[in-house]
């Protein structure tokens, strides 16, 4: 790790927020519970959306309306996960940053974000015209498959952090 990154991590560890979360026996589990809830809802809603795009579930439902309803849950849950995840990171920044599983999870999250941005950029204007999966372009279906794989990875490596983080609070 470069000295610049180490100094940033030390700065984060010295913040009152880091002290508050790491020294409070109750706060960390509560924030982690909210994080798990957020991740579960993000994962669940994204998989439902991707499976619909692939035409594997709810084929009689118009895609556009279907996506719109689930993406509200996705974004709310993502905001919850991101905020709680950031707080958890600050509380033990050095350990998280040097944890391989955390690094992989972060890379996967960046990939998921890029996948979503590209999807929006390319297909945003066309989505309202999609009623059934025959109208979904092959590229959109490929991106839905990639999305499912990435989010599976996020859950897997996210859980592995609990078993490899040093010093760990709990698993």
């Amino acid at each position: 790790m470069s000295p610049e990154i180490i100094s940033i991590l030390n700065f984060l560890l010295d913040t009152p927020l880091a002290a508050l979360v790491s020294e409070n026996e109750v706060l960390f589990p509560w924030i982690e519970s909210l994080h798990v809830l957020g991740i579960a809802l993000v994962f669940g809603s994204i998989v439902v959306v991707d499976l619909r795009l692939l035409g594997l579930i709810m084929r009689d439902q118009a895609i556009h309306a279907f996506l719109r309803q689930y993406l509200i849950i996705t974004w709310l849950a993502f905001a919850l996960s991101a905020i709680t995840g950031a707080v958890l990171f600050v509380s033990n920044a050095m350990s998280y940053a040097s944890n391989t599983n955390f690094q992989i999870k972060l890379i996967l999250l960046i990939c998921a974000g890029l996948n979503m941005v590209i999807f929006q950029k390319v297909f945003a204007k066309k989505i309202p015209r999609w009623l059934f999966e025959e109208q979904v372009p092959r590229m959109a279906k490929i991106m839905a498959c990639i999305s499912i794989c990435i989010w599976l990875g996020v859950v897997i490596f996210g859980r592995l952090i609990g078993f490899t983080l040093m010093p760990t609070i709990a698993n």
Binding site: P29, G44, I72
Partner: protein, 165 residues
């Protein structure tokens, strides 16, 4: 609650060959916990879809009968996966689960959430609401759905607290 007989029971489970095997296999618990979380995700999104539709907060353009027909099946399978993976974790570390107050609370909340959801689905299937599809559910059903949502979310919280108590 950690009564003597429960601790003895945990000790008996811990001495079984299956428990020893689970304890010796390093990758098994992380793998099972990962599947457990994925099943929680499937369960939560199914439960939310059903109950938010009943409360009329979201998914209102989907028929109630159709929503239940699809998502209740997913919910049932998620519960099966959760029970199987949960059982593996209990056999692997019985005292950590059975003698843990967070786990005991989780079981109570799980019973409430499952009872509320199963009651609601059965009642709706037996009424005109299911047949007519888009018709709004009654006030009583909305209350049951609200209790179910709160219970399912509380199940997730108590599950995570097992690691800390």
């Amino acid at each position: 609650m950690r009564p003597e007989f429960l601790l003895n029971f945990c000790a008996v489970i811990e001495d079984t060959a299956l428990s020893q095997l689970i304890q010796r296999t390093d990758w098994l618990i992380p793998a099972v916990q990962t599947v457990h979380i994925m099943a929680i995700a499937a369960l939560l999104i199914s439960a939310l879809t059903i109950h938010l539709r009943v409360i009329q907060v979201s998914f209102t353009n989907q028929s109630l009968g159709w929503t239940i027909a699809i998502f209740f099946r997913v919910l049932q399978w998620s519960v099966v996966v959760l029970l199987v993976t949960g059982l593996v974790m209990i056999i692997g570390e019985p005292a950590r689960a059975l003698a843990n107050s967070a786990f005991q609370i989780k079981i109570v909340l799980l019973s409430i959430a499952m009872s509320a959801t199963f009651y609601l689905v059965t009642q709706i299937k037996n009424t005109l609401i299911y047949a007519e599809g888009t018709k709004a559910a009654t006030g009583a059903f909305r209350w049951v759905s609200t209790v179910a949502i709160i219970s399912w979310i509380s199940v997730v919280f108590s599950g995570r607290w097992i690691a800390y108590t």
